[in-house]
């Protein structure tokens, strides 16, 4: 069994950089393959819903996958931020910063696909609705943007990391509250709009494959981004100088 020391050696930017580089193509390929399969299943193999003409209804599978990923990534980001803060591990902080834009993008996709689906599903004039999930996505989008902007505006890298960590930690604690807040019963709450009571197997599979695809993509994108962050922040160190020198 590989022991702790083996894994720990990759916990510094210098050692993780090449490892990350090797992993990226693997995840990308997985993402693209499963993405193609997932999209095919979602749009061609899942049952037509009676009475609805629009193909766009099937975008629900993309929407659910993006929505899950957006929340999942936020939790992971918060976890890395916490680790980086408590253990003063720079790589963890870098991972948190690397995840944020991908998470924001997932949130954005969830929002757009949610609106498209809403239009297709039950109201051609639909533009917005206090749907709990869409509301959560919107607030989550601003949580991500706040984190990203805070780190962009702060010049000092170390302060940016630590400030972002505090924000992320509080955000992670608040996220469940936000989720429950928009789910509260009010007189304006529309009827539950989730499709069907039991889902056919093919639909479940389509959803899972899309989630997997987004997950693989997120890992690949974050690894690419964390490598760029490493080069940026560690540019004074010898190994980065060597790397950049070798390229030119």
């Amino acid at each position: 069994m590989l022991n702790r020391a083996f894994w720990l050696q990759f916990s510094t930017p210098k050692t993780f950089y090449p490892v990350a580089g090797k992993m990226i193509p693997v995840f990308m390929v997985l993402a693209v393959l499963s993405g193609v399969i997932g999209l095919y299943l979602s749009f061609f193999e899942t049952p037509r819903v009676a009475g609805l003409q629009k193909e766009a209804y099937h975008i629900i599978f993309v929407h659910v996958a993006a929505s899950w990923m957006s929340m999942f990534i936020y939790m992971i980001m918060g976890g890395y931020a916490m680790l980086g803060f408590i253990l003063k591990a720079r790589l963890s902080g870098m991972m948190a910063s690397a995840l944020a834009p991908t998470g924001a993008m997932m949130t954005f996709i969830a929002l757009i696909t949610g609106i498209i689906w809403g239009r297709a599903a039950w109201n051609p004039n639909f533009t917005w609705t206090p749907d709990p999930r869409l509301m959560t996505e919107l607030v989550l989008f601003f949580l991500y943007m706040g984190f990203i902007l805070l780190q962009v505006v702060i010049d000092d890298a170390r302060r940016a990391m630590r400030a972002g960590a505090i924000l992320a930690i509080v955000g992670v604690v608040f996220l469940p509250l936000i989720f429950f807040a928009v789910k509260l019963p009010t007189i304006h709450q529309p009827a539950n709009i989730r499709p069907g009571h039991t889902m056919p197997v093919v639909s479940v599979v389509a959803m899972l494959v899309m989630v997997f695809s987004f997950w693989m993509y997120s890992i690949a994108a974050s690894l690419m981004r964390v490598r760029a962050i490493m080069l940026e922040q560690e540019k004074r160190t010898a190994w980065v100088q060597q790397l950049l020198g070798a390229k030119t």
């Binding site: 943007m145 505006v153 702060i154 170390r158 505090i166 604690v173 928009v182 509260l184 009010t186 007189i187």
Partner: protein, 226 residues
């Protein structure tokens, strides 16, 4: 331990009293912001009046949010600019307590007045007396949470350019549940659905912010001061 909190509260209150203009801007903004709605509606039909009454809790809550956000800049900026914030960090007491004292002082000056004025504004929008009381209660529980969360936002953005806008962006998503529980309570009460669930969640938010945010705000300030 309590003594240091009281000393800090007294200090900040004394400073606020000598800068009275700043206090009043928050309160006036709140009043104007709420009043914009009936003013914009002009002479109302009965249907419009009913609609105004229905969204009254939301109007008041959002105005309270905005007024509080306006006042956040003052929490630490004065102390930051004259160097006294550094000295506060160097007091031989847990810095979280000192920040907690500052947050309480901020609430007394920027939050409590909103709670007290809200019933009058509620009347302007057509809320009944019991509804006004529920509104006051939600604001009483919610505004401390707003000050607590805002303190973290203010601490994170100390000394940055255009910090006011950034603070708003950081803090608004976290304000959303507070606002929803607050405005929702009044709505739920008004429509007879019962507001127990909302108030329970509001208490949970307040408790959570009381536990987590003084530490978060204090750490945010220290990070900004490094």
């Amino acid at each position: 331990m309590l003594k240091i909190v009281f000393t800090v509260i007294k200090r900040d209150l004394r400073l606020a009293m000598r800068r009275r203009a700043e206090l009043l801007t928050v309160i006036f903004f709140f009043i104007i912001s709420v009043s914009l709605f009936p003013i914009a509606m002009g002479p109302e039909t009965e249907q419009e009046a009913r609609m105004l009454k229905e969204i009254a809790p939301i109007i008041i809550w959002i105005s309270a949010l905005l007024a509080t956000m306006l006042s956040l800049g003052q929490m630490f900026s004065s102390d930051y600019q004259d160097g006294t914030l550094e000295q506060l960090i160097l007091i031989p007491q847990p810095f979280s307590l000192i920040v907690f004292g500052k947050i309480i002082a901020h609430w007394l000056v920027a939050g409590l007045p909103l709670v007290l004025i809200a019933p009058l504004l509620g009347m302007q929008l057509g809320l009944s007396v019991p509804e006004q009381l529920v509104l006051m209660l939600t604001l009483l529980m919610g505004t401390p949470a707003l000050s607590l969360i805002g303190a973290m936002g203010a601490g994170l953005t100390l000394g940055l350019r255009n910090s006011n806008i950034l603070v708003s962006l950081l803090v608004l998503p976290l304000y959303v549940p507070v606002m929803i529980y607050g405005a929702g309570s009044v709505e739920a009460y008004a429509t007879g659905l019962g507001f127990k669930a909302h108030m329970a969640l509001m208490s949970a938010v307040l408790l959570l912010t009381l536990i987590l945010l003084p530490w978060a705000a204090a750490t945010a300030v220290r990070i900004s001061m490094e």
